[in-house]
């Protein structure tokens, strides 16, 4: 079964709120927002991998926190959940399992990216 057959990666209620907020803006806020989110997520996932490889828990925790915040804001609840787990694992008593979580995060990000692109091309225009 493909990933797209599972539950939606994006919370539709959050997207509806974003649409309502964007309606009042002069510039195309949604396109800007999605562009920043996709670029930042790619950067943060790379930073998470680097921090995990280097054993840099502080950097891992900070990157997971920031990416978790933007994921929650855009309605990517699955990504936000994985980021929260990474934040906990990056704490002082980290038992490991970080690499597997980053893999899950990247997989979830793929689903989110697809849904955001569809949302922009169909729903938001």
């Amino acid at each position: 079964m493909s990933d797209s057959a599972g539950p939606m990666a994006l919370d539709r209620a959050v997207l509806a709120n974003l649409l309502a907020v964007a309606a009042g803006e002069d510039v195309s806020l949604l396109e800007e927002l999605v562009g920043i989110f996709l670029a930042d997520s790619t950067t943060y996932i790379a930073a998470l991998r680097e921090a995990a490889d280097a054993g840099d828990r502080d950097r891992l925790k900070k990157a997971a926190h920031t990416l978790g915040g933007s994921s929650g804001t855009i309605g990517a609840r699955g990504m936000a959940d994985v980021c929260r787990q990474l934040e906990v694992l990056a704490g002082p008593t980290a038992p490991g399992g970080v690499a597997a979580l980053i893999d899950r995060l990247e997989q979830e990000f793929g689903r989110v990216r697809g849904e955001l692109e569809t949302f922009l091309s169909r729903g938001a225009r």
Binding site: N17, V21, A22, I36, D40, G68
Partner: protein, 190 residues
């Protein structure tokens, strides 16, 4: 209302800024705590919404800096946080935070909390006006209100506060007014 936003996540900052504009406010957006502190000193906004975890100056430190300024006009501080529980709540309160919004924020909850903030800031202004200079008559001690009417001080305060008055006599007036009057009555009675 001018609102300073300190948020290092670009996506959250963008959405928060747009939401505040939609609610009729004028947000000033800062990308981190240091930038927010500089903007605060320049703009003196009545309300600050800040993320907790940021590089450099974090949300709690920003709040402590604002409180240490001891400005006459109160600054209402709302902390954006994913942290929950008693410990986080108490830490925020001890730093001088007025309210909390959980991330990701709900626009309706944000609007409601901003209404509370405006109400409290309005009350603060009224209190400051009461503490400020009152035009008082040199002779009869009546106070001129905002409608240019003169009221005795008891009426003036009773209309604006929960205070009520019990009348007594202070030791000085007892010695200078009451005792001579009692003495006079005693003399007349003789």
């Amino acid at each position: 209302m001018n609102i300073l936003v300190a948020e290092d996540d670009a996506v959250s900052r963008l959405v928060l800024g747009a939401t505040l504009r939609r609610l009729g406010h004028q947000p000033v957006l800062a990308e981190n705590g240091r930038e927010a502190w500089a903007a605060f000193q320049k703009e003196s906004p009545p309300l600050v919404i800040t993320d907790w975890i940021m590089g450099g100056i974090d949300g709690l430190e920003l709040c402590r800096l604002i409180r240490a300024e001891r400005r006459v006009k109160y600054t209402y501080v709302i902390l954006l946080t994913v942290m929950q529980g008693k410990g986080a709540y108490l830490e925020g309160m001890n730093a001088g935070v007025d309210d909390f919004i959980t991330k990701p924020f709900d626009p309706d909850e944000l609007a409601a909390r901003l209404r509370v903030a405006e109400r409290i800031l309005g009350l603060q202004t009224q209190v400051k006006q009461l503490e400020g200079l009152l035009p008082i008559c040199t002779y009869c001690k009546r106070i001129r209100d905002e409608g240019n009417a003169w009221s005795v001080i008891e009426e003036y305060l009773a209309r604006r506060t929960d205070a009520s008055f019990t009348h007594g006599v202070c030791p000085q007036c007892f010695a200078t007014v009451v005792e001579p009057e009692l003495e006079r009555m005693k003399q007349e009675g003789k």
